[in-house]
């Protein structure tokens, strides 16, 4: 009896709990949206938020219930978009490839630092002193906060500036938020010509700070046949929708600040001696 009683009591509690849970699971079951669950299973699960939703499952339910587009996931790219389209049973529209790019070309040889900084090795920390270590207030600070934040190993430091590997970049936008100088922008995949400068100072001031700073001379705007370039706030802007990547502005630019990402293999074969984005061989 001394053994039987505890066994009976524990089994009874277990039985009651088991039956209770089974009944609860049966009668209080919430119908799970199957489409959303299926979509969620093909998403990469990075939860980066680049699609504009609060994570992969949120995006999945938005696609299933609210008619969000199937091609918003930049991490999964066309492959995932195709799978989602198959689940939804609609025609597949290829997701637009996008990538991040750094709008600063001020390497060691082109610009200079105004302080010898020995503090915490991060751009955000350096930015709190004066206006950062660069002579130009909009210069890449070169401590690689963007490199640290990138989950895909797509950013590396080259001669003091950050460079994005277009092929690895998934356009999640984490680096865009992190950069204290707001130098990084997300661009459409088919646009490759861009102004590698963010300095809004007058041309004469910029020229003193950096030898590859945009001096807002306007020669690119004049030569452009598609009216894609305009000068705003002392800097040239290239309209991605109008630009045909003809390369006229690249040739015309007196300070060589307009560059292109045209090389499809860029920058896998980069060597310290020849950086296609920084060196003078960049126009091809």
């Amino acid at each position: 009896m001394t053994i039987a009683l505890p066994i009976i009591i524990v089994s009874l509690i277990g039985l009651v709990a088991g039956i209770g849970l089974t009944l609860a699971a049966k009668y209080m079951a919430v119908s799970v949206d199957e489409t959303a669950a299926n979509i969620n299973s093909v998403l990469p699960g990075a939860n980066c938020g680049a699609c504009g939703f609060a994570g992969c499952s949120d995006y999945a339910s938005a696609v299933a219930n609210n008619g969000a587009k199937a091609n918003l996931c930049p991490v999964g790219g066309a492959e995932v978009a195709a799978k989602i389209s198959t689940i939804l049973g609609v025609e597949f529209v290829e997701g637009e490839k996008r990538y991040a790019r750094v709008k600063c070309a001020g390497t060691f040889s082109k610009t200079r630092y105004v302080m010898t900084y020995r503090g915490m090795q991060s751009c955000a920390a350096n930015k709190t002193f004066y206006r950062g270590r660069g002579a130009c207030p909009k210069a890449c600070l070169g401590y690689g906060d963007c490199v640290d934040v990138c989950d895909y190993g797509a950013i590396y430091m080259y001669h003091g500036i950050a460079v994005v590997d277009k092929n690895k970049c998934v356009a999640c936008g984490l680096c865009v938020e992190r950069c204290p100088n707001k130098l990084i922008e997300i661009a459409n995949g088919n646009s490759s010509t861009f102004v590698r400068c963010s300095n809004n100072e007058k041309g004469s001031t910029t020229r003193v700070m950096c030898s590859v700073g945009c001096i807002a001379c306007g020669r690119c705007a004049k030569i452009c046949k598609f009216e894609a370039i305009e000068i705003k706030d002392n800097i040239a802007y290239i309209d991605q929708a109008k630009c045909r990547n003809c390369g006229m502005c690249i040739k015309e630019c007196p300070v060589k600040v307009i560059r292109t990402y045209r090389d499809p293999n860029f920058p896998h074969h980069i060597t310290p001696a020849v950086d296609p984005m920084v060196g003078e061989t960049a126009q091809g």
């Binding site: 009683l5 505890p6 009591i9 524990v10 509690i13 277990g14 709990a17 088991g18 209770g20 849970l21 609860a24 699971a25 209080m28 079951a29 919430v30 915490m120 090795q121």
Partner: protein, 197 residues
């Protein structure tokens, strides 16, 4: 009333579950990376602690103590708490989806948490009545919340700090946790000081 205040004070500050009794260290280290998740986790823990106490106290007093089966308390409590948390999760999902989406992720984590089991067992070790047990459980949860919020603040500072390579990651977090625990030792004797012997 005074007794309840004494229980609350002592369990939140003096005998803090995490920092003095070293219970619930796993969520303390695991979920304290960000403030919002640590608050969510703590509220879920408080909720489950009170609920578990409300169920296990009568069970112990009416069933186990009556038949002289006190030694079964750990296995019975684990069984009951696990089933209860599952049930609560199902009910929340059905009737309160908003609460479920903010709390639901943490509920399975708590199912067999030692802090929850600890509070139910310590209630009987201290000889608390039902009301006192509920107060004790609530205070334990609030103490957990306090420890979590403090520690998530410290961890955010650690993340930003330039920690030597050797101490990066877990070592620096464990050292910070032990210093915080030492700091809480300063509260010992406070209850006697405030409320008298």
């Amino acid at each position: 009333m005074k007794e309840i205040l004494v229980i609350l004070f002592s369990v939140i500050l003096v005998d803090n579950f995490v920092l003095s009794k070293f219970l619930g260290i796993c969520p303390f280290l695991g979920v304290s990376k960000r403030l919002d998740s640590s608050v969510g986790m703590s509220i879920a823990v408080t909720f489950v602690m009170v609920l578990a106490t409300a169920v296990t106290w009568p069970l112990y007093a009416l069933l186990l103590a009556r038949f002289g089966l006190e030694y079964l308390q750990i296995i019975v409590f684990i069984l009951v708490i696990a089933a209860l948390v599952q049930l609560v999760e199902i009910m929340l999902k059905k009737y309160m989806p908003a609460l479920h989406s903010s709390l639901g992720v943490y509920l399975p984590l708590i199912t067999t948490n030692c802090a929850v089991l600890g509070v139910t067992i310590l209630n009987f070790d201290n000889g608390y009545t039902f009301t006192h047990s509920i107060a004790n459980a609530f205070g334990a949860g609030i103490g957990f919340l306090l420890a979590m919020v403090l520690f998530s603040g410290i961890r955010q500072k650690i993340e930003e700090a330039d920690v030597p390579e050797t101490f990066k990651g877990v070592p620096s977090v464990l050292i910070a946790a032990s210093i915080l625990s030492l700091a809480f030792m300063g509260f010992s004797g406070m209850v006697e000081g405030v409320f008298g012997k």
